[in-house]
């Protein structure tokens, strides 16, 4: 693929992952390649079954890939040493989709945020509390929340706590798996604004996996479009959204509803007329 950054921080080359075997084998990821540069926000976008989640799981060591290279800052992620694995786990942090199931309900916010510090040894014991409070403030929550449990918070606040947990060890890379798709639009806006602020303030590199093309456009500098386990195209935000090279990308973009009643009615009228002239609508999927 084109436009590999000169010095990628995270590098995926010809990744392959097949589930099942024989006639039931399904290749979920088929020679996917991309690179994440330092300080960049890269979007992996695709419909369900596009392979975006499997790619992410391979990257984070939750699945073993069948083939391909995975590199993070000169660490070969397919066979890292113990110290390399520790460094990767500290420097690359994950934010999950569902802030209800990703936080342990029995732990307090203080414990949730301190845990990664204890595990990674990223910060001496006596500085832990300060680091936790500082990080909590970063996501607009205060020290008064330290003793509370996840159930005491709204969905948007929980996602901010999840982001704080990822940030507390001062990572270089944030990997976000559909971090706003379970949230209401007003809460989603808060979390997206927060992610954008954190990224620029902390100079983070972000790998952002999502199905929502408008959300990806708001956040990402470059975009990888996936379909059926393959990379359809890769480009800058500008390239993907204003002059996509592939027909598939165009149809995806076309299908995103706009907040423009007159325009949307006109677009729909055109589609329905086209469908009528071609007989029944050809269903996708």
């Amino acid at each position: 693929m084109t436009q590999m950054p000169a010095h990628p921080l995270l590098y995926v080359q010809d990744l392959v992952k097949t589930f099942g075997s024989g006639s039931r084998a399904h290749t979920a990821v088929d020679r996917v390649s991309f690179a994440l540069a330092e300080g960049e926000v890269l979007g992996l976008v695709g419909e369900s079954g596009s392979g975006k989640s499997t790619t992410l799981r391979c990257l984070m060591g939750l699945e073993t890939p069948d083939a391909g290279d995975l590199d993070y800052d000169r660490i070969d992620l397919r066979k890292p040493s113990r110290t390399q694995r520790r460094r990767f786990r500290r420097e690359v942090q994950l934010v999950f989709q569902d802030p209800y199931s990703s936080l342990d309900p029995r732990m307090t916010v203080g414990q949730i945020l301190a845990e990664p510090l204890v595990v990674s040894g990223a910060c001496p014991a006596r500085e832990r509390r300060d680091r936790v409070v500082e990080t909590l403030e970063l996501v607009d929550l205060g020290a008064e929340h330290l003793g509370r449990h996840p159930r005491d918070f709204s969905g948007g606040q929980r996602q901010r706590i999840a982001i704080a947990r990822a940030l507390v060890v001062r990572p270089r890379v944030l990997v976000c798996d559909e971090p706003v798709s379970a949230l209401d639009v007003s809460v989603q806006a808060q979390v997206l604004n927060l992610l954008k602020d954190m990224q620029s303030r902390l100079g983070l590199s972000v790998l952002f996996v999502a199905h929502d093309l408008a959300v990806v456009r708001y956040l990402c500098d470059r975009v990888v479009v996936l379909r059926d386990g393959r990379v359809v195209e890769t480009g800058t935000r500008e390239e993907i959204y204003t002059r996509p090279r592939e027909e598939y990308t165009r149809t995806l973009l076309e299908a995103v509803p706009r907040l423009d009643p007159a325009g949307e009615r006109a677009r729909r009228a055109v589609r329905l007329a086209r469908a009528a002239s071609q007989g029944a609508a050809q269903p996708v999927a």
Partner: protein
Amino acid sequence: MSGVERCPLLRVRDLAVRVRGVDGPEIVHGVDLDVQVGERVALVGESGSGKSTVAKALVRLDPGVEVAGSVQFDDAELVGAPERTLRAVRGAGISMIFQDPMAALNPVRRIVDQVAEPLLIRGVGRREAARRAVEMLDRLGVPRAAERARSYPTEFSGGMRQRVVMAAALVGGPQLLVADEPTTALDVRVQEQVLDLVVQQSDELGLAVLFITHDLGIVAGLADRVAVMRHGRIVEDGPVDRVFLEPQHPYTRGLIGAVPRIDADPGRRLATVADSLVVAREAPPPAGTNRSPADRTQLDGGRS
């Protein structure tokens, strides 16, 4: 768009819904809503706004709540009506479809039997009911409908299942389709197709649609009118173009400003509902204060 008609198909007045039991809280307060014959109305709100509660209360689907006020459908009062009346209305007059088509379908029954069921219940003969079921599946774009009608729901994709559910909802020729987040679980291209079908059927059959959703984007090209709900109340109700272009309520403005847009400058910060409500509390500024319009625009998340 339907103009001013004298008597709405659905006329909801002062609808209140309370959770059953001692001290059961009221979760919907004083909702008024009209749907004209053939009109498409979107009821929009975030989670907990009460939009689905209103939808279910129309035909008393949830036994766990008490409904007060008035729901008139086709000139008949449904609140307090006997179960027999409601059963006749459900399926025949008012049909509903929901977010998860798999939950609405029985996995071990053939598609054709499930789509034909509303007809069988009303005494249509087996062969005639099956014929009309297949016809409706074909109309909704299920390829090789006659053949595929004999298969089972698990053999269908998500988009196809939603077509099956829609076929079952429309086969009895209802006047009003209540669609509660029918495309939320679908990919964007499939969503577009399902919404196109809803609009097409509504136009061709003169079918009124009450569309319940959290997604303002899909409402824009679909609805004639939009009602916005928050905390169990309707805060704004108007023609779709007016609500989108000149929202009156600060909450509506906040919701619209919070949506990431595929056609706007990504450098423009998303507004949040809180921003807009702050402005609402502080505006209009009391006489004597000299807060500039620029300050307010800023608070409003950079609208205008």
